[in-house]
């Protein structure tokens, strides 16, 4: 084992909160080590609805949460301006919905008061005919509709942008690195013992250890002998590899919950469920019942939904704060910071609860708590300091395409991931062939992600640069992608085969619950393309 490294702060958990704290503290001049047992944003953050939203449903429970959420959303869309995009919701109202059209418009009128905080436009009201004109797939049974604007973001890129900036400001950040023990001295936590991706063990000493492990917060807490109670809630989404509608659409499930079908950059997420979860956090499966629950609720407002071919599902567990008796949907999305000095465990801070849309604020307040413990006085700058890729305006995609010899669509996609730094990704190298044609993703960008963006597996590449994120689910590209990533990481031939097999097998788990008709045709193609890997 190597000599322990020394840091001001060690952060456990590389979701959006942990990454945000690492960025915040490193910008304040502290030395930071960020550890993530899987990949950046691979847990709860990555399985979210991909939205920076203000939470209009909290208006029923707590306007402060809406205000906090919209204010912080405003900061996020400013600092990440090149990777966020507007999402326009159509909310159709049907005759027997829990809210009639007047109540629904009232809620939107109230929400409009908060919309300027996140640079969004106010709602509009549409007659049934007008709603059908802009979205002919809606049911003609509706009595009217209102619109609502939110922001979309790729959470994987948002998390990585925070990691990237933390590293640029002096932090060390290791993915695929699991904390196996907290180091203790007379009750206080003084560091961590961890295992890296190559199986080696190391230690890091720190004045403060931050537990930002999302739903794994209680598990990490137990290592320090403290009890942090959560009420974990499972949520799933169905993923369609195209935009089914140009708009996002809301619906009501059989038990009156709000469902959303959200159009993102070339794909659609339909979700989500919200169920108490007691199982293994490292092995969360999607059930066909959950898929049927979503489709049943959604086909009431969008009757043709079952004709579209889903390509996979996603699932994650929300780290909701503990509360007895309430229904899952009524639980607060507020967060809480615990300084465990009050439990007799000094040097250990936990951040629990919250949501993606408030990650920056959660990170700021956690960082404030850490700075207070360290007696470090430096203001937070993350509300105004742009994230990597959002420092300046992007050049026109066609110019970038011409200069780099790629299609304009490939340039658009490159910019959607790297913002104003898109040209840097291809700098000094020919863009090369397009390796994932659905996306489209160039060989140069994939190589860059392995070289510069801590991609260590093909699933990491899926998160970082959307490899195999399209309609063919990797049938046409994973073998070639393994060669490219393997070349950068020094994989042997058998390691490349192993990488493809691992990717195909884990993708299958997410795909199986939604395979129908054309889905099976596509599955045959994937299995055919990778035949020979499973003998």
């Amino acid at each position: 084992m190597s000599q322990p490294s020394a840091h001001d702060v060690v952060i456990i958990g590389g979701g959006v909160t942990g990454a945000g704290i690492a960025r915040d503290l490193s910008l304040r001049g502290l030395s930071v080590l960020l550890l993530e047992k899987g990949d950046w944003g691979a847990g709860t953050s990555g399985s979210s609805s991909w939205m920076i939203h203000g939470g209009p449903r909290y208006l029923e429970f707590d306007w402060d949460t809406t205000r906090l959420s919209t204010t912080d959303a405003g900061h996020i869309v400013t600092i990440a301006r090149n990777i966020v995009y507007r999402v326009l919701f159509i909310i159709p109202v049907l005759p027997h919905d829990k809210n009639n059209i007047e109540r629904m418009e009232t809620a939107m009128e109230v929400y409009d008061r908060f919309q300027p905080l996140k640079k969004s436009h106010p709602h509009k009201r549409l007659t049934p005919q007008e709603a059908l004109e802009i979205e002919p797939g809606l049911t003609p049974d509706m009595v009217g509709a209102v619109t609502m604007e939110e922001w979309g973001v790729d959470p994987h890129r948002l998390v990585f942008a925070n990691v990237q900036d933390a590293v640029a400001n002096g932090a060390r950040a290791l993915n695929h690195t699991k904390v196996v023990e907290l180091l203790r001295d007379a009750g206080a936590v003084i560091g961590v013992r961890y295992r890296t991706s190559d199986g080696a063990y190391s230690e890091a000493r720190a004045k403060v250890v931050v537990n930002a492990a999302g739903p794994w917060v209680p598990e990490v807490g137990h290592m320090a002998g403290v009890d942090v109670q959560l009420r974990p809630a499972k949520g799933i989404h169905i993923v369609y590899p195209h935009r089914i509608s140009r708009f996002a659409i809301s619906a009501e499930s059989i038990d009156g919950r709000d469902l959303l079908m959200v159009s993102h950059a070339g794909f659609t997420l339909l979700g989500t469920t919200d169920d108490d979860f007691y199982g293994d956090l490292d092995s969360v499966e999607v059930l066909r019942d959950e898929v049927d629950y979503l489709l049943q609720g959604f086909e009431r407002v969008f009757p043709a939904i079952r004709k579209f071919r889903p390509v996979r599902t996603t699932t994650g567990v929300r780290p909701t704060l503990f509360k007895w008796r309430r229904y899952e949907d009524e639980l607060s999305r507020r967060y809480q910071i615990f300084d465990h000095a009050s439990d007799g465990v000094d040097g250990f801070v936990t951040i629990a609860g919250g949501k993606l849309s408030m990650y920056r604020l959660m990170a700021e307040e956690t960082s404030d708590a850490v700075c207070r413990k360290l007696g470090h006085q430096s203001p937070c700058v993350t509300a105004t300091q742009p994230l990597p890729g959002s420092e300046s305006d992007m050049e026109p995609a066609e110019d970038l395409a011409r200069r780099c010899g790629i299609s304009a669509l490939a340039a658009v996609k490159l910019q959607s991931r790297h913002g104003s730094r898109a040209a840097e990704v291809l700098d000094g190298a020919a863009a090369g062939r397009v390796v994932c044609r659905c996306e489209p993703l160039t060989e140069a960008e994939l190589s860059y992600s392995a070289r510069r963006e801590q991609v260590r597996t093909l699933a990491d590449a899926f998160r970082r640069v959307s490899l195999a994120g399209g309609p063919c689910a990797g049938a046409a590209c994973v073998m070639r992608a393994a060669e490219i990533v393997g070349r950068e990481l020094g994989w042997s031939a058998s390691q490349r085969f192993d990488a493809v097999r691992d990717f195909v097998q884990s993708s299958w788990l997410g795909r199986a619950p939604v395979l129908t008709h054309a889905g099976w045709a596509q599955e045959e193609l994937v299995q055919g393309a990778t035949r020979g890997l499973f003998v």
């Binding site: 326009l88 009128e109 002919p136 509608s245 140009r246 658009v412 046409a476 193609l525």
Partner: protein, 131 residues
Amino acid sequence: MGRTDSLAKLALAYGMHLTRRRLRPARSQLKPLLDLYAADGLAPLTPEEQEKHPQLIGCINCGLCAFAAGRLARTRLPDLASSYARLYSRLGDAAGDVDGEEPDWEAASAACPVGVPLEDVARMVRRLAVG
């Protein structure tokens, strides 16, 4: 306390909303809506496109149409159906990619194992790309 307070404020807003609706005649907000979001690439599909939409986006990227008919302008046919047809909001920035010589659409569609109507895909993509 928070919940009671929130519901009371919503009730007040509801009363004001109903009063406003009685006093002020409703005007169509469709055109202002479409104008507002035109720059964000949120042009709607037509009813015909919506009707065929499950087929238009059914491509599994097997590549057979490329063998049968090649390209539309600079764009390989499977890319048209698997990538451009995903209707990115910034499709307009890539309008030049799909502007040019036409392939043999009949041959392309005949080769498709899942029945994607490729000529219709091209029509939809071009319409949305030019805005």
